[in-house]
């Protein structure tokens, strides 16, 4: 079932556009142009709300307060005023994020998807990313059912990436947190471990991606997805 999004935006042209972008990205949208109407909606009917602040009828922050009273519904604020007070107040009242106008359609969709992104599937102490299953408790990893013969550092490296699939992990952080502290590892040492890990992943070595200027990332795009993620953009794989 498609995620349903409540959009409250009074500007006719912008509202129509945003509805188009969201629907194009696979979401179902209910669009309201008045704050008072938004107060009557049941938050449980939605996966997320996108709220403009300057609305006719009830002010955007009042709608936010009403939504927060009984619900944990993620709320994204559309802020047109470059005013810090508005943003701080919105975050204090429980808004999850804000997007400042003017924004590109892709920017809004990315923010919505980030907010709705489900955490990596973790069950019974295991993390599953596509063909990869990491048994955290048993300190074992399988790819396509094949048990990988990993050293302690290789396993910790894979686990660190698997905990945040799709996110680039800072090379300096990996050196500090994964390598053996007694051996004074460097980034060069880290690269050697990654190289060995990739060799052991065999045909699935593309799971571990190098990210320019940052470090490494576990490619989440190969994960089984029910969300209908779009293919990567023209820039190739990105964080």
């Amino acid at each position: 079932m498609r995620d349903r999004i409540l959009l409250v935006e009074d500007d006719e042209a912008l509202g129509r556009q945003v509805v188009g972008h969201l629907e194009g990205a696979g979401f179902a949208v209910r669009w309201l142009q008045n704050g008072d109407d938004a107060l009557r909606e049941d938050p449980d009917d939605y996966a997320m709300a996108i709220l403009d602040l300057m609305l006719p009828g009830a002010y955007g922050l009042d709608v936010l307060k009403r939504l927060r009273r009984h619900s944990e519904l993620p709320v994204l604020i559309l802020s047109a005023r470059q005013d810090t007070h508005d943003k701080v107040r919105a975050l204090e009242l429980g808004a999850d994020d804000f997007v400042t106008k003017p924004f590109w359609p892709d920017e809004l969709i990315a923010r919505v998807k980030t907010r709705l992104r489900r955490p990596a599937l973790q069950r019974d102490g295991t993390i599953a990313v596509g063909e990869l299953i990491v048994d955290v408790e048993g300190r074992a990893a399988r790819v396509a059912g094949r048990l990988l013969d990993l050293t302690r550092v290789e396993f910790d490296l894979l686990l660190a990436l698997a905990r945040r699939p799709g996110s680039a992990i800072d090379r300096a952080w990996l050196v500090d947190n994964v390598l053996d502290p007694e051996r004074e590892g460097t980034e060069r040492t880290l690269d050697v471990h990654v190289s060995r890990l990739r060799r052991k992943l065999g045909e699935h070595k593309h799971l571990v991606q190098t990210v320019w200027g940052v470090g490494y990332r576990l490619n989440a795009d190969v994960a089984p997805s029910a969300r209908g993620d779009e293919p990567p953009g023209p820039g190739g794989s990105r964080s």
């Binding site: 047109a80 994020d97 953009g233």
Partner: protein, 487 residues
């Protein structure tokens, strides 16, 4: 000058001439009194037989006095003169009464005496009687303990001829020396007493003024919100009330200025809102044309690319102008609150990813798990980081890279934006960040539009207490680093 010193000076300034006049008046009175006493003495002596004795034997006149009387009841004036001709001429001895001695000599109209013991008549006394005075008096200065000071007077007799037409009377002795200086001493004592009394009396007034001063300082420190508490009906209380009235006017003026400033900020915010919404719609329309770009001819493709770039430029221009307006407004417009740098970096990257995609630049980022909180103004800091990322993306080459990495270490954070584009020369960066965010910096494009808003980034970092550093990369490109303290 302090109030007490000023009061003392005023008292001295007012009292000095008065004391001088009083001393002079007393001195003059004394001279007159002495002149009268000595004249009466001379006249009495001459009229009670002195004249006859003098004219009879001027060389022996006056006869020497008897030994000093031992009787304490002896009258202050000289004792009766001896009988005429009873004593031969000999040096004149003064007539003594206690410590006071009186002596006199007779002179003819040419001021010479037949008595060889008679002293010459002082010239100033001669001049005075020749001017027509009946009596002329002058002071005799004391010369040590042996010769006490006093007065001498030249008295004109009623008869103008003969060897005793003038009589010189000299009276000396302790207690009869009252010159101006002796008269000045009690005046000085009284003056000093008055001065001390004035200084003591000014104590309560000075204390009230000091209290008023403390109240005024406290009120000023509280932006004139506290009133001063000095009460009463005197001039100090009047001053306190006047200050309260002035403070009320200052408060009213400041409130009016703040209202105007608030209204202006509101106007700018509303205007920004009115511009931003249609700009978003325009960006959406242009974005919708992107799929068409592949099939369009070169001219149309270039036009669309330029239009997208202009929207991007206009967007950052409006945002930077709003930021510049905030920075110009000063600390009043700067909000310090707790903000999460992870979310901020995510937003900045999400904002610039469409531009990066359109330019075929790979935009990567990494943040620690959880949140990294700092104290700052989210709008300003997001604009500051956004300007760096935007420059890194916009002036990169096709297929280039930009990475935004947030790290924390030992209570400090680091936001590092690296690119592998041609970058800006360090000289250019220094030039861009040094020209200041005011003036034309936020409005005008630099040559080729490079470095837009970097001056604003530098100013924001300075205001928030963060460090901004530019480091050329070994493989080309540039790293821009913001560091600061974690909240």
């Amino acid at each position: 000058m302090r109030l007490r010193a000023r009061l003392a000076l005023s008292v001295i300034a007012a009292a000095l001439p008065l004391a001088a006049a009083t001393v002079w008046a007393r001195h003059d009175l004394t001279r007159r009194r002495v002149a009268q006493v000595l004249r009466e003495f001379a006249v009495t002596r001459m009229e009670s037989g002195g004249r006859a004795r003098c004219e009879a034997d001027p060389a022996a006149f006056p006869p020497p006095p008897p030994p000093p009387a031992r009787d304490p009841d002896t009258p202050p004036l000289p004792p009766p003169l001896p009988e005429l001709g009873a004593v031969p001429p000999q040096p004149r001895r003064p007539v003594a009464t206690d410590d006071i001695e009186t002596a006199f000599w007779a002179y003819d109209a040419s001021f010479s005496s037949a008595n060889p013991a008679a002293p010459p008549v002082p010239v100033e006394l001669v001049a005075a009687v020749q001017d027509g005075a009946d009596v002329a008096v002058r002071r005799i200065e004391a010369a040590g303990r042996e010769r006490p000071g006093g007065f001498e007077a030249l008295v004109r007799m009623a008869w103008t001829t003969g060897p005793c037409a003038f009589v010189l009377v000299r009276r000396t002795g302790r207690g009869f020396e009252g010159g101006p200086l002796e008269l000045l001493l009690p005046g000085l004592l009284v003056g000093a007493g008055v001065l001390i009394a004035v200084l003591l009396a000014s104590g309560p007034v000075v204390r009230r003024i000091r209290r008023l001063e403390a109240d005024v300082r406290r009120s000023a420190a509280a932006h004139y919100d506290a009133s001063v508490s000095v009460e009463g009906g005197d001039e100090v209380a009047d001053l306190a009330r006047a200050f309260d009235e002035a403070a009320a006017e200052v408060r009213a003026h400041v409130a009016a200025v703040e209202r105007r400033e608030g209204a202006l900020r509101e106007f700018v915010a509303d205007t920004t809102h009115d511009v931003m919404t249609p700009l978003t719609v325009l960006a959406g329309h242009l974005d919708a044309l992107r799929p068409v770009i592949e099939t369009a001819d070169d001219e149309a493709r270039k036009a669309l690319r330029d239009a997208l770039a202009e929207v991007d430029y206009t967007t950052s221009l409006v945002a930077n102008l709003t930021t510049a307006a905030k920075l110009v407004a000063g600390s009043r417009a700067l909000v310090r609150h707790r903000l999460d740098l992870c979310a901020l970096v995510e937003r900045v990257v999400a904002r610039h990813r469409p531009l990066a995609n359109a330019r075929d630049v790979e935009l990567n980022h990494a943040t620690p798990r959880g949140s990294v909180d700092v104290a700052g103004d989210v709008t300003l800091l997001e604009q500051a980081v956004g300007n760096i990322v935007q420059n890194a993306v916009r002036y990169n080459r096709r297929g280039g890279h930009v990475a935004v990495v947030l790290r924390t270490d030992a209570g400090r954070f680091e936001i590092r934006v690296e690119d592998d584009g041609p970058g800006l020369a360090l000289d250019d960066i220094e030039h861009l960040t040094e020209r200041g965010f005011r003036g034309s910096a936020a409005r005008t494009r630099s040559e080729s539009g490079r470095g837009l808003g970097l001056d604003i980034t530098a100013e924001v970092c300075e205001r928030l207490g963060f460090d901004l550093d530019f480091q050329p990369m070994e493989q080309g490109g540039l790293a821009v680093v913001i560091t600061g303290v974690v909240a």
